[in-house]
């Protein structure tokens, strides 16, 4: 499948004030995004997500590495005409009304007046700001500014939409609307690249994800691959299999909870669960339930993005 974003060996360092110290914001980032997919970009604060995104949209020049956006270089007019971008916590001109802001950008895109009006009306309705046309942007809440940001990112009907924390600042209803909007973009064949801290939303929406930390890619792949590759535990409910301490001493057992008289919930490593089942059945105990515990994206994120103090010190 055709890649719409290709990032290879991206590096970016900054100099602190007075050029005292070199800060490496991005050390080694490479990934590809295929046309039509929703791609999640994950990482803790300071991981290098926003720096990577800014190099992708031409706001920052990389120190090293190569970026191709829809086959062209970031910043080229023909490339920028086909992408939509929402920065993190967007801010706009205080004294303009939302339709005036969108009109300015529509003029920059070269949209004819009639099409501009039509798109602006449709987008303001889509992001739920129809009622706020009479107000200047300085009177907008953070969530409303986020909606304006989404509207301006979609004004040119882009093939590729790059969203930096699109769900931040939104209330639960707003979040659901934006999630639905992102899903509808995919349904229309658009490619969506977005960063978020809200892992449940990424898990719900994304086809593939990249996890970065301290400027380095820690994991990349489809959610199925990544979560499948992680540990998969089994929760087994047993009755009359002995004491909790006896069960906890068995190989592969991660956790034991007593939930009733002689009834225990045992969490065991997936690859050792058969052994455990044989042991409890051989002892004449009763197994009342077995549930597979799939690794959550959150667990994977914590596992990959925070690999422990030793890993940090080693780097």
């Amino acid at each position: 499948m055709e890649n719409v974003i290709e990032v290879e060996g991206l590096r970016k360092h900054f100099r602190t004030a007075m050029r005292q110290r070199r800060v490496e914001a991005v050390r080694s980032v490479s990934f590809q995004v295929a046309r039509g997919e929703i791609f999640g970009f994950l990482g803790p604060n300071g991981a290098g997500k926003t720096t990577t995104i800014k190099t992708m949209v031409g706001l920052i020049r990389p120190t090293a590495g190569r970026i191709r956006i829809q086959g062209g270089e970031p910043g080229k007019l023909s490339v920028m005409a086909r992408i939509g971008f929402l920065p993190e916590q967007p801010y706009f001109y205080d004294y303009l009304k939302p339709q005036e802001l969108l009109d300015t950008f529509g003029r920059v895109f070269g949209l004819p007046a009639a099409l501009r009006r039509k798109r602006i009306d449709a987008l303001l309705a889509q992001v739920g700001l129809d009622h706020a046309r009479g107000r200047t942007l300085r009177k907008f809440s953070k969530g409303m500014l986020q909606r304006v940001g989404i509207a301006q990112a979609l004004l040119n009907d882009p093939d590729l939409v790059i969203l930096d924390e699109p769900l931040s600042g939104l209330d639960p209803i707003g979040r659901k609307e934006v999630i639905d909007l992102i899903a509808s973009l995919k349904a229309r064949g658009k490619t969506v690249f977005f960063s978020s801290h809200i892992l449940a939303d990424i898990e719900r929406l994304c086809d593939r994800v990249v996890i970065i930390d301290r400027g380095v890619v820690r994991a990349e792949g489809t959610l199925g691959d990544l979560l499948g590759a992680g540990r998969s535990d089994k929760e087994i409910l047993v009755e009359g299999a002995g004491t909790g301490d006896e069960l906890a001493a068995l190989p592969g057992v991660r956790r034991v909870d007593q939930i009733g008289a002689g009834v225990h919930r045992v969490v065991a490593a997936g690859d050792r669960s058969d052994e455990l089942l044989r042991y409890v059945l051989d002892r004449g105990a009763r197994v009342t339930g077995v549930t597979e515990q799939r690794m959550s994206l959150e667990a994977l994120f914590l596992d990959r993005a925070f690999e422990g103090p030793q890993a940090r010190e080693a780097e």
Partner: protein, 269 residues
């Protein structure tokens, strides 16, 4: 090529229009505009202090001086924050990621501010004409030329402010630009001092070199000041205005070009 240039003009026009609308609604500008008109009108009170045969002269001289100075004040105060505000508040993140060149954004911002300066000039000019009319002072024949020249001066100061603000903080940019205004207004004095056979500029080579460099590297703002001509009834032809416009344009292109070079290489962290 026509299409490419058409696109450039369209994009610059969109940014200029945006800058004009945003600035014209800004309370700071509205306040500054009201103060400017009030200062022009206050020339009525100041003329009352002058001898009766000098009142007309004071009204003309003080009115034009106030307009020119206030245009420069607006140019410097708005010019130094023109780019800084957009970077500081991160509004540039959404503008520069559109299909537009950085130099086009800068040109649009500059043109939008020049339109604001033209608007404030018209407001102050009308207030001045009203004051002259109320005091039965005949309108100077070259009043429009004088106003256009003061706009040229403000335009040049805007370009200088833009250049300094490309790499310095607003306060420093303001100090540098106001310094350039003071030095630019003193260029004829320096030129005269350089012709003297006596004095430090004649005897001290370092001082002479400094003065000569200042005269060469600083725009001569006296070109735009025709207050004396207006009072004495010396005609200021449109030919002179055109030549002064060319002089202004040449310096504006230089300062804008330097600002664009800095802006083009900048990272927006």
């Amino acid at each position: 090529m026509t299409g490419a240039f058409g696109g450039t003009f369209r994009r610059i026009g969109a940014i200029a229009r945006n800058t004009f609308i945003e600035a014209s609604r800004n309370r700071a500008f509205i306040g500054l505009g009201i103060a400017a008109v009030a200062l022009v009108v206050s020339s009525m009170a100041i003329s009352g202090l002058a001898l009766s045969d000098q009142r007309a002269r004071v009204l003309v001289d003080f009115g034009l001086f106030s307009i020119a100075l206030l245009e420069v004040v607006i140019a410097i105060t708005m010019g130094v924050i023109l780019v800084f505000k957009e970077v500081d508040r991160k509004t540039f993140y959404v503008v520069l990621t559109k299909p537009i060149l950085r130099v086009e954004v800068l040109a649009g911002k500059l043109l939008g501010l020049l339109a604001i300066l033209a608007l404030s000039l018209v407001a102050m000019g009308l207030a001045w004409v009203l004051v002259l009319w109320l005091r039965d002072v005949p309108l100077p024949s070259d009043l429009v030329q004088a106003l256009v020249l003061s706009w040229f001066q403000a335009a040049l100061m805007t370009a200088i402010a833009l250049f300094f603000s490309a790499f310095a903080s607003p306060i420093l940019s303001g100090v540098f630009t106001f310094g350039a205004f003071l030095v630019g207004s003193m260029v004829p004095v320096l030129e005269e001092l350089l012709t003297l056979k006596k004095g430090p500029l004649a005897t001290n080579p370092a001082a002479r070199f400094l003065a000569e460099s200042t005269v060469s590297l600083t725009p001569d703002l006296s070109v735009f000041n025709v207050g004396k001509e207006l009072i004495l009834g010396i005609p200021v032809g449109w030919g002179y205005v055109g030549a002064a416009g060319g002089y202004c344009l040449a310096w504006c292109v230089l300062f804008f070009g330097l600002a664009a070079l800095v802006f083009e290489r900048r990272d927006f962290n």
